[in-house]
C-alpha cells in the first residue's frame, strides 16, 4: 500500500495527469488489494456507458459531498481496473485502512465493468448510453450490451441499477434485472429533433429484430422510442422538463420520485442534461434528498477537458472533448447558437486511447459547424486527415501549419487569436491530455482544479 502511495506522490510531483500508475504498482504487489479496500466502503456507485461517464461521476461526487459524505472518486477518466485501484489506494491511510464510511464513485470503462463490479460490488450502477466508439478496441456495440447483461448477474441483488430510458439499448437491460431499478430520461416535448443525416447505431431491437421507431429523437438513438411489437420507452422515475439553454448554463426542471427542483446547471447541451439526470438518479438511489441534488448540480464544475474553461496569457480558452461521433456531434451542437462564430483548434490523435482508426470523423456532422467557424487551426497526429475532412465540410482554410505537433498547433491558434476573443479547442482524448498539460505549463489558471 505504501508503494502505491509513494508512486502516487511521485506522479503528482511530476505534474502528470496520470492517475493509473499507483494502481498498477499495487495490482502487482497485492492483487487482492482492490477487493479488500472496496469491502470497507459504505456505498459504491459505478458509472459506465460510452459517453458521459467522467462528467456524470464528477456531478455525482459533488452531490454526495454536498450531502456531507466522504467521497472516493477515480477522476480524470482513469477508468480501468488499475485506475479504480489507484483511487482506493489514494483514499486509504498509510496503514492500509480506508476512511470509515466512504462512498466510492467509480467510473468504469465499458469493457472493464465486469472486473470492476466483481472487485467493487455496486450499491448503485449507472448505465449512461451505448454508442459507436472505437470499434477497433471495443468491438461491436451489441457484444458490449451482451457482456453488461451477463455482468448484472454478478451484482448484489439489492443494488439499484440506473438506466437511461431514452436509449433503447440501455433501457432493455431492465429485462435482465430483478432488483430495484430507476430510469431517467427527458420529458420535454420542445427539445429540437436530431439532424436527419445523423448516424444512428441502434436501429433495431437485438432481441426481436424489430426496428426502433421514434415519435421524437434527440441525438444518436436517444429519444422517445417504441417498436411495432409494442415494446416502448419506459416512463422514467427521474426526468428533465422545460429545458432552456442559456449562454453559459442549462436550466431545467428536475423531477424526482420525492419531488421536483429547478436546476441551473453550469454546462451546455442536451448531453449535459443527460449527465445530470444520470447523477441525480444515482444520488436518489443512494438516498440523497432533492434539495441536496439541486445544490450539487448547481455547483458543478467541468471535469477534465469536458467544457472546461481556463485563462492563459489573458486569453480565454475552453476545451470540449470529442471522442466519438455522437460525443463530437454533441460538443458541436453546443457551439451552434444562432449568430455565434468561434475560433477553433481541432486536434485529432490516433493513439490507442483515441482509437487508432480516425475514419469516424467522416461520421461527424462538421457541415453544420462550418458557418459557425470564424477561424480554424488543425493539429494532432492525424492533422492532415482532419484538415481534409473540414475542407469537405466547407470550413475556412486552416491558419498556420497543419501540424502533427500539438504544441505547434496550440501556439499557432493562440497567436492567431484576437485579444478579446476566446479559443475553443476540440480534441480527441490523448490530444486533450496533451493540450491541457501544455496549457498548464503556460500558466493557465484553473488547471488541475478538477471537480
Amino acid at each position: 500500500m505504501l508503494a502505491g502511495k509513494a508512486a502516487r506522490l511521485g506522479m503528482r510531483a511530476l505534474g502528470s495527469g496520470g492517475t493509473a500508475l499507483p494502481g498498477l504498482v499495487v495490482e502487482r504487489l497485492h492483487p487482492q488489494a482492490t477487493e479488500r479496500l472496496a469491502g470497507r466502503l459504505s456505498a459504491t456507485a459505478l458509472i459506465t456507458g460510452t459517453n458521459g461517464k467522467t462528467t456524470t461521476s464528477a456531478m455525482l461526487a459533488r452531490i454526495l459531498r454536498a450531502d456531507g459524505r466522504t467521497v472516493v472518486h477515480n477522476r480524470s477518466g482513469s477508468n480501468l481496473m488499475r485506475g479504480v485501484t489507484a483511487s482506493l489506494v489514494e483514499a486509504a491511510n498509510p496503514l492500509g485502512g480506508l476512511v470509515h464510511g466512504c462512498t466510492a464513485v467509480l467510473e468504469a470503462d465499458e469493457a472493464a465493468l465486469p472486473a470492476i463490479a466483481r472487485a467493487a460490488p455496486p450499491t448503485t450502477a449507472v448505465f449512461t448510453n451505448l454508442m459507436r466508439d472505437q470499434l477497433d478496441r471495443y468491438g461491436e456495440i451489441e457484444s458490449i450490451a451482451l457482456r453488461w447483461a451477463e455482468t448484472l448477474a454478478d451484482f448484489p441483488t439489492d443494488a439499484t441499477i440506473a438506466l437511461n430510458a431514452d436509449d433503447p439499448l440501455i433501457a432493455s437491460l431492465a429485462t435482465c434485472w430483478d432488483g430495484p431499478c430507476l430510469r431517467f430520461g427527458i420529458e420535454d416535448a420542445d427539445v429540437p429533433p436530431a439532424p436527419s443525416g445523423e448516424i444512428v447505431d441502434a436501429i433495431w431491437d437485438p432481441a426481436t429484430q424489430d426496428d426502433f421507431r421514434y415519435s421524437r429523437r434527440y441525438f444518436a438513438q436517444l429519444g422517445r422510442w417504441h417498436t411495432d411489437a409494442g415494446v416502448e420507452r419506459p416512463t422514467p422515475e427521474v426526468s428533465a422538463d422545460e429545458i432552456v439553454q442559456a449562454e453559459a448554463s442549462t436550466q431545467f426542471v428536475l423531477r424526482l420520485p420525492e419531488g421536483s427542483a429547478s436546476i441551473d446547471l453550469p454546462a451546455l447541451g442536451l448531453y449535459s442534461v443527460y449527465n445530470a439526470l444520470a447523477a441525480a438518479t444515482a444520488a436518489t438511489a443512494l438516498g440523497v434528498p432533492p434539495e441536496t441534488i439541486k445544490r450539487g448540480l448547481g455547483a458543478h464544475q467541468a471535469a477534465f477537458g469536458r467544457q472546461e474553461e481556463m485563462v492563459v496569457d489573458g486569453r480565454r480558452v475552453r476545451i470540449l472533448l470529442g471522442k466519438n461521433p455522437s460525443g463530437m456531434n454533441q460538443a458541436l451542437r453546443t457551439l451552434q447558437r444562432p449568430g455565434e462564430r468561434h475560433h477553433l483548434l481541432v486536434l485529432l490523435n490516433d493513439g490507442i486511447a483515441d482509437g487508432t482508426d480516425v475514419s469516424w470523423i467522416w461520421d461527424v456532422d462538421w457541415e453544420s459547424q462550418a458557418e459557425h467557424c470564424e477561424s480554424l487551426v488543425v493539429g494532432g497526429h492525424r492533422a492532415a486527415d482532419m484538415a481534409l475532412r473540414l475542407e469537405y465540410a466547407g470550413f475556412p482554410a486552416p491558419r498556420g501549419p497543419v501540424a502533427n505537433d500539438v504544441g505547434r498547433a496550440l501556439r499557432a491558434a493562440l497567436d492567431a487569436l484576437p485579444q478579446s476573443e476566446r479559443l475553443t479547442i476540440l480534441p480527441t482524448y490523448t490530444a486533450m491530455l496533451d493540450v491541457r498539460q501544455r496549457l498548464g505549463r503556460m500558466g493557465a489558471a484553473r488547471l488541475w482544479d478538477v471537480a
Binding site: 477497433d136 490523435n349 493513439g351 469516424w360 467522416w362 492532415a384 484538415a387 481534409l388 469537405y392 490523448t430
Partner: protein, 265 residues
C-alpha cells in the same frame, strides 16, 4: 454503351447509388459518396447521390456508380436477403461495365459467400470470384492502417475485419499489400477487381484521401455513359487530400504509437 450521348461537357451528370446507407455505414464509408459528389462538382459534373434501402425500387442500370460500405455482422445479415434479390440485376450491370466500389462488408457480400466464426454461411451475389471466412472467435481481427500498391501507386486506408477473403484462381486482386493485412494477412493481396467493379477492405474513408482511385471510378463511369474520351478529367487542387494520403502512409509505415496513447490506454 451509355445512354444519351450528350456532346456538351457542361451538362454531364452521374447518378450515384449508395446501397443501404443507414445500415452499411461503418468507419466513415459515407465519405466515399461525399468524395464522388465533390470531385464531380468541381468539374461541373452534376452528381446525384441516391440511397437505396431494403425494399426500395431500384434497377442498377439507372446508375452510373454503385457504392456499398461496411457494416457489423448483424447489419450484413439484415441486408443480405434484399441484396440477393437484386443479385442478377447487379451482375448484369457489372457485365455491362457498370462501376462499383464495394468496401469491407460490402466486398464480402459481393463475393460468393461469407462463413461466420460459428460456421453459419451467408451467401453473397458472386460478383467477385472470392469467398470469405471467419477463422473463429479466438483469432484476432485484421485491424490497422494499410498501404497497398495499385498500378504503381499507393492506396492508404484503415482495415477492421474478422473475415478473411480468399480469391479463387483467375480472380484478379485490386492491389498488393505493402503494410497491413489486406484480404487475409497471408497472400499479400488486397481487394478484388472484376471489369469496373472494385472490392476492397480499405475504410478511411478510402476515396477522399485516395483521389486517384476516386477519379478512376469517375472516369470509368463517364466513359461508360458518354463514350471513349469522356473520362478525361481536369486535375484538381488536391493539396489537402495528398497531405492526408502522405500522413496515412507515414502512420502505417512508421507504426509508432503515441506515448500518450500507450500510457493511457
Amino acid at each position: 454503351m451509355g445512354r444519351g450521348l450528350m456532346s456538351s461537357s457542361n451538362d454531364r451528370r452521374l447518378d450515384v447509388a449508395v446501397l443501404y446507407p443507414d445500415l452499411l455505414n461503418l468507419y466513415g464509408d459515407r465519405g466515399n459518396a461525399r468524395a464522388m459528389a465533390r470531385r464531380c462538382a468541381a468539374r461541373g459534373i452534376e452528381a446525384t447521390v441516391t440511397g437505396v434501402d431494403i425494399g426500395d425500387q431500384w434497377s442498377p442500370e439507372q446508375s452510373d456508380l454503385v457504392l456499398i460500405g461496411g457494416g457489423q455482422d448483424r447489419e450484413q445479415r439484415r441486408v443480405q436477403a434484399d441484396l440477393l434479390r437484386r443479385g442478377n440485376a447487379i451482375r448484369d450491370y457489372v457485365n455491362d461495365d457498370g462501376v462499383v466500389l464495394a468496401v469491407c462488408g460490402g466486398f464480402q457480400l459481393f463475393g460468393h459467400q461469407y462463413r461466420g466464426w460459428d460456421g453459419d454461411v451467408m451467401d453473397g451475389i458472386g460478383i467477385f470470384d472470392a469467398v470469405a471466412a471467419h477463422p473463429g472467435p479466438n483469432v484476432s481481427r485484421c485491424v490497422g492502417n494499410v498501404v497497398a500498391l495499385w498500378e504503381g501507386e499507393t492506396l492508404v486506408g484503415f482495415e477492421n475485419h474478422g473475415g478473411r477473403t480468399y480469391l479463387n484462381d483467375g480472380q484478379q486482386a485490386l492491389a498488393d499489400v505493402a503494410s497491413g493485412f489486406g484480404n487475409n494477412g497471408g497472400d499479400g493481396l488486397e481487394g478484388a477487381r472484376v471489369k469496373n467493379a472494385f472490392g476492397t477492405y480499405l475504410h478511411g474513408a478510402v476515396l477522399p484521401k485516395n483521389p486517384h482511385l476516386a477519379d478512376r471510378l469517375i472516369a470509368l463511369a463517364l466513359e461508360r455513359r458518354y463514350g471513349p474520351g469522356a473520362g478525361e478529367l481536369e486535375a484538381l487542387d488536391d493539396g489537402a487530400a495528398l497531405r492526408a494520403h502522405a500522413e496515412a502512409l507515414h502512420t502505417a509505415l512508421s507504426a509508432t504509437e503515441s506515448p500518450l496513447g500507450r500510457r493511457f490506454a
